[in-house]
Structure formats: structure tokens, C-alpha cells
């Protein structure tokens, strides 16, 4: 990185000055998310920075140790509240890995489609919010409208717009609605049209480009050592995508590309996310074609899945099965397991320890943006204050996830 005022003569700088300390946040209008950045400035250049997180800490891991495995779902919803479905599926897969069960094929496709819709939401929010913080308000409104289309689908499927709590161990809360495929097929082109319009508004805009191109560069080696994953890592040129490297669900049957960047600057991160929105749309289209129209959604295992309501009320077996699962929880074999999926921000890992009872002994989440935000200090050193805003925006810090 080059000094910014290299050509200034020394005599012009004789004014004595103390470094100025500036407190950005915890609640700053130009930054989404509750984070505090203490900056030390020389002129307008940042010489030291300290990123302080934890303002949204709610003791997620402690809370999980107090209920059953199923009761963790509402909590994981609220980790990354921009794409809760991906967290739901990630946690369900982790518990299923310990139980050694695989959900039926129809459910796998259902999870993929809902997950990719959530990913589109996540990237849309990140990119359009980043543009809004740079003064481009219209792309944000377009993004919000596109997200509304997806949320309508979610509302129809799950009954909730944001925090669905829709995942279950061994399946989903309910099967797809009759018109699920039709809704997605008609909604997706409208979303993509909006995405195109957002790009058209931004990518030839001099102000936007000047503020993102070449700002916040990260090298591939540093990004790897920092623990970056997801779009932030891929923007540096390392093509690591959990869906491709360790396929789960049915991702090995679907064709998609992994967009990568070259320099790892804000522009690359923005473009990686835009590319991934299109790839997600491709995945959804293929999955819609391949998804069976009928068949079970939940596994057939009385120890894991709640029986249908009419059985609970009419048969003694159903009543007992329901009682055991609700009161004691699903019995997960003792041991430890690390399960990882590709969430909106990168590798979302769950490290679970079970003592064989119906309550988790330890639930550890590996939040992808915790690692990304850790790298923020390095990105903004030597830059100016206005560069903090797009750089922070492109990290896509989600407070709930980062602060557990």
C-alpha cells in the first residue's frame, strides 16, 4: 500500500499534530450492524484500528445447553437473520450426521431450493445495503423489492417471513405447498430482473466504482490464515465452496459455477455475490426440474420425527411417541461431530457434543462472518474514513451470527 501524500514536501507538514481518536459506532448511521470501531487518525488516514464486537451477544451457545435438540432451531434462526433457512438446514444436517440418518430425496431438493432462495436474499441485502451506504438509495429499494418476492414464497411455505424455524431433525416442518414450484418459477425471473437493474445502476457509476475498486484488498494467503470462507474468500481467488468441495444434500447432482475474484477488493466481493445470486438461480431451476412431486418429506423413524397430529390424538403409540420426543428430546448418540455447510457468508460449522441424552452437551457455532470481521482491521489500515463504510459493508457482518 502506498503512502497517500507521498509527493507532499516535508516543510508543508510542520504543523504539530496529535493523532486523533475517533469512535465509529456502536450505532453508526452509515454502518449496518452494531459494531464499534475505534480509529486513530493521522489527518484523514487511519493509522490504527480496533474492531470491537459483542454488542449483540445473546448467549446462544449457553441457551442451547438448556433445551432439547429441536428447541435449538429458533435460536439458530436468529444467528444469521438474513438467511435463517440456511442456518436451519445447517443445524439439521449436523444433528442428522450424528444420528446417522439421511432425509428423503424430496426433502433434500426442498432444502436446497429454500436454502438457495435464502442465499439470494442474503447476497441481495449485503450488496444493496453496501450500495445504499455509498449513497445509492435506489438499488437498495430494488433489492428490498426483490427480497420481498422471495419472502412471499417463504411466507407461503413456512408461515413466517423472516425467522421461519422451519427445519426439523429428519425433515422439514411441513411438505411443500401445492403451488410451490409454480411460485418459485414465476418469482425467480422477477428477482433476477431486479438484480440486473441493480447492476445497471451501479456498475457504470463512477462514484460507486471509485469507492469500491482497489479498496480493501486482501491476499489469498492472508484470507486463508484469517479463516475467511465464502464470498469474501472467493473474491481473493481461492475457489473454496463447501457445496463443491464437500457436496452435501444433492449439490453433486446440480451444475453450477463458483465465481471467484482476483484481487480481493470490495469490487470483487460485490461481484462475487452478484455472480452467486445468478448461480443460485441456476441451481434452483435445476432442482425444481429434478424434485419429485410426491413422496415423503420426513424420515420414517419414530425416535426422531413427530407423528402426524391425527395419530397423536387417536392412537396410544402416537401419543407416547409425541410425548417422548417433546418432553425428553431426540436421543442423539454420545460423541462429537463437526458439520459444515455453505451459508450466506461462508462455511457455517456446528461442532456438537452429545452425552447421549436429549439435551445437547455443547453446541458450538462457527460463524463465518466472525472470521471475516476479524480481517477488517487489516483492510482499513492506511485507508481513509470513507473507505471504512464500503469495506465494512462488503464483509456482510451479521451481528447475531458474529456475536453469537
Amino acid at each position: 500500500m502506498e503512502p497517500l501524500d507521498e509527493e507532499l514536501e516535508e516543510s508543508a507538514l510542520e504543523l504539530p499534530s496529535e493523532p486523533m481518536q475517533l469512535n465509529m459506532g456502536p450505532s453508526h448511521p452509515a454502518m449496518h450492524g452494531t459494531v464499534r470501531i475505534v480509529l486513530e487518525l493521522s489527518g484523514e488516514t487511519i493509522t490504527k484500528a480496533d474492531v470491537q464486537i459483542g454488542y449483540l451477544h445473546r448467549g446462544f451457545e449457553k441457551m442451547c445447553e438448556r433445551g432439547t435438540w429441536t428447541q435449538c432451531f429458533p435460536y439458530v434462526d436468529r444467528l444469521n437473520y438474513v438467511s435463517p433457512m440456511l442456518n436451519n438446514v445447517g443445524f439439521a444436517l449436523a444433528v442428522e450426521k450424528m444420528l446417522g440418518v439421511t432425509v428423503p430425496e424430496r426433502c433434500q431438493y426442498y432444502r436446497v431450493i429454500l436454502g438457495e432462495l435464502a442465499r439470494i436474499c442474503d447476497h441481495l441485502v449485503c450488496n444493496s445495503a453496501m450500495a445504499m451506504e455509498l449513497g445509492a438509495f435506489t438499488p437498495f429499494l430494488y433489492g428490498a423489492r426483490a427480497r420481498e418476492i422471495i419472502w412471499d414464497i417463504f411466507e407461503e411455505e413456512t408461515g413466517a417471513r423472516v425467522t421461519h424455524s422451519f427445519g426439523r431433525v429428519g425433515g422439514m416442518a411441513s411438505p411443500p405447498t401445492a403451488d410451490f414450484k409454480g411460485m418459485v418459477r414465476s418469482g425467480l425471473p422477477r428477482v433476477l430482473a431486479m438484480v440486473g437493474e441493480i447492476e445497471a445502476l451501479l456498475l457504470k457509476n463512477r462514484i460507486f466504482l471509485d469507492r469500491v475498486e482497489g479498496v480493501g484488498k486482501m491476499s489469498k494467503e492472508d484470507a486463508l490464515a484469517m479463516g475467511w470462507t465464502g464470498p469474501t474468500l472467493r473474491s481473493t481467488g481461492a475457489a473454496y465452496d463447501v457445496r463443491r468441495a464437500h457436496p452435501y444434500l444433492v449439490y453433486d447432482r446440480l451444475e453450477f459455477d463458483v465465481p471467484v475474484g482476483t484481487t480481493g477488493d470490495n469490487y470483487d466481493r460485490f461481484m462475487c455475490r452478484q455472480g452467486e445470486i445468478r448461480e443460485s438461480a441456476r441451481i434452483i431451476e435445476q432442482a425444481l426440474d429434478q424434485m419429485p412431486d410426491s413422496g415423503p418429506i420426513n424420515i420414517d423413524d419414530a425416535r426422531v420425527v413427530l407423528p402426524p397430529k391425527e395419530e397423536v390424538y387417536t392412537t396410544i403409540e402416537g401419543t407416547i411417541q409425541h410425548f417422548k420426543i417433546v418432553m425428553e428430546g431426540i436421543k442423539v448418540p454420545a460423541g462429537e461431530c463437526y458439520s459444515y455447510t455453505e451459508a450466506g457468508n461462508g462455511e457455517l460449522g456446528f461442532y456438537l457434543v452429545s452425552d447421549g441424552s436429549g439435551t445437547p452437551y455443547r453446541v458450538r457455532i462457527r460463524p463465518p462472518c466472525f472470521a471475516s470481521v476479524q480481517g477488517l482491521q487489516q483492510l482499513i489500515l492506511g485507508r481513509m474514513i470513507p473507505d471504512v463504510v464500503p469495506t465494512f459493508g462488503s464483509m456482510n457482518m451479521i451481528g447475531g451470527e458474529c456475536d453469537h
Binding site: P3, L13, D50, M226, T229, A238, G335, Y361, F370, A371
Partner: protein, 192 residues
């Protein structure tokens, strides 16, 4: 595939590897605390391991066991695509003697994860550049994720804090601007 990594570790470190297992398909090696950083360095630098992706670091409190805590680290290799979990056991029943060599000099990403682990469990990482609480505030008492920390535990009121930036952000000599730059500081000009 990463079974091979476990074999390599055992060949290299012998009895410093307490046990290995591959439960649920996750290859795991439990090492003695003294060898913690050596094992990490070996995993990073040995070309057959090449664990260049630092993934996760956390701890688990097994209240009834001795040693009580298990520090767990997950690693991945970008080029080889394999993963490994290394663990070590530290701490006595009172939650004392919690020292462990820091991995921050090995992978820079360990910095915040170790701070979190210190915050939540009280593991003291020796050689960590900046071991402060990260999610909790400075005046917080105890370590919330320990099993003997009650979930209903109340915390004392914190006095109104005067704005004191020095206290909040202790910058070391190695931190700050990464390039040589004209200084405006009197001390530096006098030294020249």
C-alpha cells in the same frame, strides 16, 4: 483420506498423541498441551498436511473429568481438501492452570477465536498478542460457558465509564500502519 494425516502425526510425535479416533467421519487427534503449538506448526508446514485454512477453535467444559477442559481446533487444507480436528486437555477441577500456547503466531485467524475462548472459558493463551474479552465487556465476572456458571447468574452493575480510548484499545508496537510513513510525532523527529 486424512487418515494419512493422523498416521503422519503419530509417526512424528509418537506418545505426544494421546489418542486418535474418527467418530462420525471426523478425524481427531488428542495431543498433550506441551506439543500443542508444535503439532500446529507441523500440520501447517508439512507439505503432506498443508493445513493452511484455520477453521475453528473452541473449548468444551467436561465438569467431571480431569483435566476438565478440552480445547478443540478444526483445520482444513485448501489444496488437499482434507480436514482434521486436534484437541488438547487442560485445567483442573477449579478451572485453574488454564495455560496453553497460543496459535495466533501460527495462523493469524486464531486471534479472535482464542480471545473468544478466553472470554467464554478462561483459557489463557500464552503468547497471544492481545488477550482481551471479545464478546463480553471488560468488567464481566466469570466465564459464561463454563458448566459451573449458572445461566441465571446476575452481574454487578458497572460504574459509568469515562471515555478512555487507551484502555480500550491497547496497540502493540507491531500494530498500526503497515508502511513507512512520514511521522508528525515530536519524539520521532527529535530522535532523528
Amino acid at each position: 483420506m486424512s487418515k494419512k494425516v493422523l498416521d503422519l502425526l503419530q509417526a512424528k510425535f509418537g506418545d505426544k498423541i494421546v489418542e486418535t479416533h474418527s467418530q462420525f467421519g471426523d478425524d481427531t487427534a488428542v495431543v498433550v498441551p506441551e506439543a500443542w503449538r508444535d503439532v500446529a506448526l507441523f500440520l501447517r508446514d508439512e507439505p503432506r498436511c498443508a493445513m493452511n485454512m484455520f477453521t475453528d477453535l473452541t473449548a468444551v467444559d467436561y465438569l467431571e473429568r480431569e483435566p476438565r477442559f478440552e480445547v478443540v481446533c478444526h483445520l482444513r487444507s485448501l489444496d488437499r481438501g482434507h480436514r482434521i480436528r486436534i484437541k488438547t486437555r487442560i485445567g483442573d477441577e477449579n478451572g485453574e492452570s488454564m495455560e496453553l500456547p497460543s496459535l495466533a503466531p501460527v495462523w493469524r485467524g486464531a486471534n479472535w477465536f482464542e480471545r473468544e475462548c478466553f472470554d467464554m472459558f478462561g483459557v489463557k493463551f500464552v503468547g497471544h498478542p492481545d488477550l482481551r474479552r471479545i464478546l463480553m465487556y471488560e468488567e464481566f465476572q466469570g466465564h459464561p460457558l463454563r458448566k459451573d456458571y449458572p445461566a441465571q447468574q446476575a452481574q454487578p452493575l458497572v460504574e459509568y465509564r469515562e471515555g478512555n480510548f487507551d484502555k480500550l484499545a491497547p496497540f502493540g508496537d507491531d500494530e498500526g500502519m503497515p508502511f513507512g510513513r512520514q511521522t508528525h510525532d515530536y519524539r520521532d523527529t527529535e530522535a532523528n
